[in-house]
């Protein structure tokens, strides 16, 4: 029997009174795929990620992650997934090593010192293992947050702006690390990003959101072709401005 999709979302809604943050979206992400969740500010990306993580309860709709219903069976799913965002912090006064040790224990990681050493080398953070997290630069914090997200070698990794605050060189290395991890582990990655070249490089699948609804899906190449544009940046602008595929911008 084929494995259940990594993410299966059906008619998902999150309403705050009259505000429809997510309004009846449905999509499937197969295992081993890297998928981007795109849209302008307020399109519903963060709300969708929070719903998938169980940080938000849906108004209605169904979420299945790795074959398990969320949030009902969150205890079965959460140990197998992880999340990284520059907008969610780690304790500032704890050192990097202490933070990672605490989270490694929370995720039930075995052989913690070895795992930390491997991540330290891979993400080039071992030089500041003994420094308080709060004393790091924004870019260093993003790398530590990514190390935290990879601690349990997740089958499903959700990333919110994974390369925000990183210089181009470090951002490129991070993309390389994510690609290697995805290839090595067969994990599924869902990332929200505003960096369209990153999406073109990393993603097999794109879901475009606008005012809480899905307005386009497909592979990056397919969307570029459908909208008659030269890259995802232009496709993004078309969709954010409500232009349908095939329409010509005056």
């Amino acid at each position: 029997m084929a494995a259940a999709p990594a993410i299966q979302v059906e008619d998902l809604r999150k309403h705050y009174g009259p505000v429809r943050a997510v309004d009846g979206i449905g999509f499937t992400v197969r295992r081993g795929v890297t998928c981007a969740l795109l849209g302008g500010n307020g399109a519903g990306k963060t709300t969708t990620l929070a719903l998938l993580l169980g940080l938000l309860l849906p108004t209605s709709g169904q979420i299945h992650l790795l074959g398990e219903e969320m949030p009902r069976h969150r205890q079965r799913v959460l140990p197998r997934m992880n999340f990284s965002s520059p907008y969610v912090d780690l304790p500032q006064r704890l050192t990097v090593a202490e933070n990672l040790t605490v989270y490694a224990r929370l995720y039930g990681v075995r052989r913690i010192p070895e795992r930390l050493a491997a991540l330290g080398r891979e993400l080039d953070i071992d030089a500041f293992f003994q420094r308080p997290y709060g004393s790091l630069s924004a870019g260093q914090k993003t790398r530590v947050a990514l190390a935290k997200a990879l601690l349990n070698e997740p089958d499903l990794l959700l990333l919110d702006e994974p390369t925000a605050s990183l210089d181009p060189d470090t951002a490129d290395r991070m993309r390389g690390i994510l690609t290697d991890y995805q290839r090595r582990s067969g994990a599924t990655l869902l990332l929200a990003s505003h960096n369209m070249s990153e999406v073109e490089r990393l993603c097999d699948q794109v879901i475009m959101l606008r005012t809480g609804q899905i307005v386009a899906t497909g592979a990056p190449r397919e969307l570029i072709h459908r909208y008659g544009r030269k890259d995802m940046e232009e496709v993004f602008l078309d969709i954010a401005r409500g232009i349908q595929s095939g329409e010509v911008l005056e």
Partner: protein
């Protein structure tokens, strides 16, 4: 309670231990206020003992009161303030998307509160011996019952305060300090409940701490261990702690509905 992992509880307790270890000021602060209180009330006791038959008979009356009061105060503060650390650090969302269950978060907070109370009050209790020749352990076995009941009541209040701050934001943080002082006059720390006006006494008797301070006076003045007081307090504490846990869990659930966990912070 199935599925509760003591390993995860230990992991979170380790996080608070790291935090404590990172700052000597925090360790000193744990013992500072209980010690200052003990010294102050020790002098008051010495002065009053010369003028009061009651204090002459039972010199430890005020000092026992202040040290036991600190058990209640420190256990409440030890739980709620440590929870606020997560909000200040914007770390709560990270914790709640990890395999940690909300009930495990509560149990970790309780464990840390116990450790902080033992350190803070323990040092003051130890110093009272050379300073005033006063040994709190002279209360004997009932002291264990007093300690447990005051700890449980502190946790119940601490959870309610934590829930309030989770619901209304860090602006409500000052309630953590104020909440327990609102109850202090009713608990009969330094005077019998009978001293209170008749209309206030029923209110005092629904507080587990009132039984503990009455029990403390029974030991010191009448040399009697009031097991009935310990039992009443324990039953009340089971109710209050159940309420505190229920309200905290319901508030976490409500925060998931309102979407406030991602924004929780200063």
């Amino acid at each position: 309670m199935s599925g509760i992992s003591f390993y995860r509880i230990g992991a979170l307790a380790l996080r608070y231990l790291y935090l404590l270890r990172s700052s000597r000021v925090r360790i000193v602060e744990l013992a500072y206020w209980p010690t200052v209180q003990m010294i102050l009330w020790g002098f008051i006791t010495q002065y009053l003992a010369r003028h009061s038959d009651l204090l002459n008979q039972a010199a430890g009356l005020l000092l026992s009161g202040v040290l036991l009061w600190d058990v209640l105060f420190r256990s409440q503060l030890g739980l709620s303030v440590v929870f606020f650390e997560e909000l200040h650090a914007r770390n709560l969302a990270q914790l709640l998307i990890s395999p940690l269950r909300p009930i495990e978060l509560i149990l970790a907070l309780m464990a840390v509160s116990l450790a902080r109370t033992l350190i803070g009050v323990g040092i003051a209790v130890g110093l009272a011996i050379p300073f005033y020749g006063f040994n709190l352990f002279m209360l004997g076995l009932p002291l264990i019952g007093f300690f447990i009941n005051l700890l449980l009541m502190g946790w119940a209040i601490g959870l309610l305060v934590a829930a309030l701050v989770l619901r209304h934001g860090m602006g409500a943080e000052s309630i953590a300090w104020a909440a327990i002082f609102a109850l202090a006059p009713l608990c009969g720390i330094y005077y019998p409940i009978a001293t209170l006006p008749d209309w206030l006494q029923p209110l005092a008797w629904i507080l587990p701490a009132s039984y503990m301070f009455e029990g403390m006076r029974a030991v010191l003045l009448d040399h009697a261990a009031r097991l009935d007081y310990l039992l009443y307090a324990l039953l009340l504490n089971i109710g209050y702690l159940g309420l505190g846990i229920g309200v905290f869990l319901a508030t976490v659930h409500n925060a998931r509905e309102r979407g406030s966990l991602l924004q929780s912070g200063e």
